[in-house]
């Protein structure tokens, strides 16, 4: 769950400043934005570009290259479902289709109540206990529809 769900320029500047001692600070900064706000706002681009002496296009290029950096706010919880081969061998795709239908979303979508965003992921390193998913920081192994529904219910209630 994002710490500050709306973009805040003061906090953004603070985050950038905290990373300036690093070699190659851009990815750590973007990760920190993702974590703080749940996404990397377009408003962050000029702030980062100015401080790191990069062009806005360069910063934009990096943000859009990586699957992790969201450009829109996400749900309160993020469910990552593995779509890679080892999970496919255990029927993950059909189960995932069912779960998406039940939540009323497609891949990368967020439920209407803003509770859950669903993202595809290509391997979680749980390939001998698949199908696998990650709900926020909670790994889920050997999932079926019931297990996913239960896990979602638990985080939503919390």
């Amino acid at each position: 769950m994002p710490k500050t769900p709306v973009f805040d320029e003061g906090r953004a500047r603070q985050i950038i400043a905290e990373h300036l001692d690093l070699e190659g600070p851009l990815l750590p900064i973007l990760h920190a934005f993702n974590e703080e706000f749940g996404f990397v706002s377009d408003s962050a681009v000029p702030l980062i570009a100015d401080t790191l002496k990069l062009t806005r296009a360069e910063v934009h290029g990096v943000i859009t290259f990586y699957h992790d950096f969201r450009r829109e706010p996400c749900g309160r919880h993020v469910l990552k479902i593995c779509r890679a081969e080892a999970c496919q061998s255990l029927g993950s795709e059909a189960i995932a289709r069912g779960a998406l239908a039940e939540l009323g979303v497609t891949w990368h979508g967020t439920t209407k109540d803003g509770e859950i965003s669903v993202e595809p992921v290509y391997c979680l390193g749980l390939c001998a206990s698949g199908p696998s998913a990650l709900l926020d920081d909670l790994p889920i192994g050997r999932f079926d529809k019931a297990k996913l529904t239960e896990a979602i219910g638990e985080v939503s209630a919390a």
């Binding site: 190659g24 390193g125 001998a128």
Partner: protein, 516 residues
Amino acid sequence: MTRVFVPKDVVALALGADRIARKISELGAARGATVEIVRNGSRGMFFLEPMIEVETPSGRIAYGPVSASDVASLFDANFLNGGAHALRIGKAEEHPYLAKQTRLTFARCGITDPLSLQDYEALDGWRGLSRALAIGPTAIIAEVTQSGLRGRGGAGFPTGIKWKTVADCAGDRKYVVCNADEGDSGTFADRMVLEGDPFMLIEGMAICAVAIGAKKGYVYCRSEYPHGAKTFNEALRLAREAGWLGNNIKGSGFSFDIELRMGAGAYVCGEETALLESLEGKRGIVRAKPPLPAHKGLFQQPTVVNNVLSFAAAPFILAEGGAAYASFGMGRSRGTMPLQIAGNVRYGGLFETAFGLTLGEIVEEIGGGTLSARPVRAVQCGGPLGAYFPKALFDTPFDYEAFAAKDGLIGHGGLVVFDDTVDMAEMARFAMEFCAIESCGKCTPCRIGSTRGQETIERLMKGENIAGNLTLLEDLCQTMKFGSLCALGGFAPYPVTSALRHFPEDFQPHMAAAAE
């Protein structure tokens, strides 16, 4: 006080280990037993996870797979003294799955508390680095070269030669970079090191740093591994506090430190030059070689990039000698390989063994066939860019050259098993789709070819112009194979052509289309 080990490896967590740990504490307190819970790594027998172990006077007794609802009955069965129970396994190391392994790299994993320096030292920790500091760069590189160690990230390049190349470069700003991007489906050995024995990776990287004269190291860890990252960061802090990292390591006059960096969900960043770009804060676009990273790597400085398992082999090699490591294996594949048996398989897990077992032995005997109890039909070896092997090739020995001779690769050692319900046309389609999603976009055969490939297979699956589309697909695969800059575009054809060659029936008028 009885010590109970409840793994915190993410597989165990995914199957409810935290709940079990809580339940043991609760019930222990309620029943007046003094229980100390240790969160160890995993032994790698994932089919038995969550596998808990109890320390008794006659050794550690394992129970598994345990669920929270079993805990009460375990107390009733007096498990704290190793009592009989339906889930009792006995001593983990006597279980055939472990007893048959040769654990050099994973010798400690699952036995120790991953963040206990005391445990690490008690089981040979820091012996390799201590010797490295004593013998110096030339002798270290001689040991690594003699070990025959080849990079475990996929390409199998001799590690000793790589280290020597960087050691021979002038200048004192050099880097040690660990590739912990582990993007291949079916692999988890790097993750197990990060979560289960992180000091070993620190030690291996420090040995490399001494050998090449580097002061700074980076671990580039995929963001899909938040748990591994957390444990590894904590290990860095502890190692620094204990003087194994930082200025003047253990009074040797040598200084070296490591920083953990997270990837951002791009498979191509596992390719070493894309990884370096990413570390520098850029898009993960593959660099043309030369220059090699060894000459101009991170920030254009001489850099060793190695896989987690390559670094992790170094402490053993330095402690026991290169010859001891090389005494395992076959042909030019020396030492051990941590196999990762995954997918639709009954006994999935990590199986470290000398090179040379046949694929059939690994899948049928060790892996026990499929989880679904249906016949095995295909095994994808070496990740998403690896070939699909049919049963007819099960006599292939696990060795770099033997696999290459069958148009396959062992890659990072992952094996994904499929039963007879698999649709190989769909798997071929997925290989192209994955390449399209993950392509860095630098070269046309990969960027465009993968999308065209995906479309062509979709047409085949609909039964359109089978002969023409098959020719087109073969053609496209050739173009990608020979016209791509890196192995993403260059190897993506392997799963496709192996599926075409070994499972041609799946590319005939498609089952789904035929049913319409």
